[in-house]
């Protein structure tokens, strides 16, 4: 006899509202039903009412944690539409801010994952170290969360030479802390008891369900947009891609911790090799008719922007496909067969960012069919 446990829309395990309907037998999960759409804000419609320059700030506000990569992808897409290249120094500065954001996002993940398994001390320590990254972001861009440095044609603000020593000191502190967390993750018996062999996603399933980002890299799928399809300054920077084979929650955590170390390495390289020169080029406000697809590696996976222009100052259509939307399909195979106690940590292991992913199409998790829903139908949607 199955018993239904509703997780959401309001639940301490979720940081943002979504609805998961778990059918359990005792402590074992038998089935899960996922309902999305609680954070839908009509952003794609808002994109097609503002001009290209104003849309930069709108794209930043799709997600709070990964805002820089949204605005960078958007700016790169519009630059492709207009057919211009930003200057080299701008590309390096964009790379620095994006990697700082990756460090901040992964430390946030570590803290909340520790909270989900009851280890509040690690939560507080990880978020204490995150303050170092926030201070660096504040120094380089003027804001702790929203950087507002990207513009079409380059960046608005330069990295001053007198800030570089503070930068390097901050990066050293972060590297020390991350090495400590990696040692802790590998050796602490209670963390291993709660994270190992849980929420396993096999390599075939990861490829079949099109998982992206650290979720798929932890299952052994070797894909990273920064290396396979380089954009910006990434073809000149050298770094390793962190891969694990087991596919469980522990592997996902280790991939993210190793990525923090790689990001620190990239920022150090970029600061050393950054060329001089201008930081922005002039772009006409009217973009000729064209369409383009641009992909980048957000902290959570592959982020995709499709933009179509029609010769005016206002884009005709902007479509955002965020990484969490791609990871949803693999969640059912991670949950079924596990226990109720694992739900928060397995859910958090794909690093869900529900604010990013509510767009118009709905996926029926039982049959796998996709259906596009119009705005009117969404307003009259009842469940």
């Amino acid at each position: 006899m199955t018993f239904v446990i509703p997780i959401g829309p309001q639940h301490p395990a979720l940081k943002e509202p979504e609805f998961f309907r778990f059918e359990v037998k005792g402590e074992e999960i038998v089935d899960v039903d996922i309902h999305l759409g609680y954070a839908h804000r009509g952003i794609e419609e808002a994109f097609s009412r503002r001009n290209y320059k104003h849309n930069i700030y709108l794209s930043e506000r799709v997600c709070g944690i990964c805002n820089v990569v949204h605005s960078t992808t958007y700016c790169q897409a519009v630059e492709q539409l207009a057919g211009i290249e930003p200057p080299e120094r701008a590309k390096y500065i964009r790379a620095i801010i994006m990697e700082l954001e990756r460090i901040h996002s992964h430390l946030l993940w570590l803290g909340v994952a520790a909270h989900q398994i009851g280890f509040n001390t690690l939560f507080m320590l990880a978020w204490r170290d995150r303050e170092y990254v926030m201070d660096l972001r504040e120094m380089i861009s003027g804001g702790r969360v929203h950087s507002a440095t990207n513009t079409i044609g380059g960046v608005r603000r330069d990295l001053k030479t007198e800030h570089i020593p503070t930068f390097l000191r901050g990066l050293e502190k972060l590297e020390q802390s991350t090495n400590y967390y990696i040692k802790l993750f590998e050796s602490d018996r209670t963390i291993l008891a709660r994270c190992a062999n849980l929420g396993v996603l096999s390599k075939e399933n990861a490829i079949k369900f099109c998982a992206v980002g650290p979720t798929s890299r932890a299952s052994g799928v070797e894909t990273d947009i920064r290396r396979d399809d380089p954009y910006g300054a990434y073809d000149a920077l050298s770094f390793d891609v962190a891969i694990e084979r087991e596919g469980d929650v522990w592997a996902k955590g280790m991939v993210r911790l190793r990525e923090i170390l790689e990001s620190i390495r990239i920022v150090r390289q970029a600061i050393k090799e950054m060329p001089g020169g201008p930081i922005r080029t002039k772009v006409d406000s009217q973009i000729p008719p064209n369409e383009t697809v641009e992909r980048t590696e957000a902290p959570r996976g592959e982020l995709l922007y499709y933009i179509r222009s029609n010769g005016t100052e206002i884009p005709e259509r902007v479509r955002v496909r965020t990484p969490t939307y791609g990871n949803f399909a693999s969640m059912k195979s991670m949950f079924v067969g596990g226990t109720v106690a694992e739900i928060p940590i397995v859910l958090w292991s794909i690093d869900p960012c529900f604010a990013c992913d509510d767009r118009v199409a709905l996926v029926d998790s039982h049959t796998g069919k996709t259906r596009v829903v119009s705005f009117d139908e969404l307003r009259r949607w009842r469940k």
Binding site: R50, K53, H54, N55, I56, Y57, L58, T121, L122, L125, R128, E131, D135, E138, M139, G142, G143, H146, A148, R156, R157, Y180, K183, L184, S187, D188, R189, T190
Partner: protein
């Protein structure tokens, strides 16, 4: 024995990491984008700031005929300060902008 016990016992003897705000204030770095401030003497009424604001937060004030920025919509992006030809708008370091009356939270 868990590895973290050394860190935990060391922390008891250290000063806490917390900054006891608001009794202790931390100064934001140079270039921090806080509240914008308008110098009415320098403004030449070109209205470039109104055109470039992504949020329509700047309007013309009826009494002074100069721009007025409403904090309820301002995203503190700094585009108005960048585009102003006479540097009449500057971004200060003031981030303590809480108020009881949102309609009166303006920079003019």
């Amino acid at each position: 024995m868990p590895r973290i016990i050394l860190q935990v016992l060391k922390n008891v003897l250290r000063k806490p990491f917390t900054v006891k705000y608001p009794y202790v204030r931390v100064e934001p770095p140079e270039g921090y984008r806080g509240a914008p401030v308008i110098d009415k003497e320098k403004c030449i009424q070109c209205w470039q700031c109104i055109r470039v604001c992504p949020d329509r937060a700047i309007t013309v004030s009826k009494e002074t005929k100069k721009p007025s920025i409403w904090h309820g919509r301002c995203t503190f992006c700094g585009e108005c300060a960048e585009v102003c030809p006479t540097r009449a708008i500057t971004m200060t370091k003031n981030f303590e902008l809480t108020t009881y009356d949102i309609q009166r939270a303006r920079s003019e």
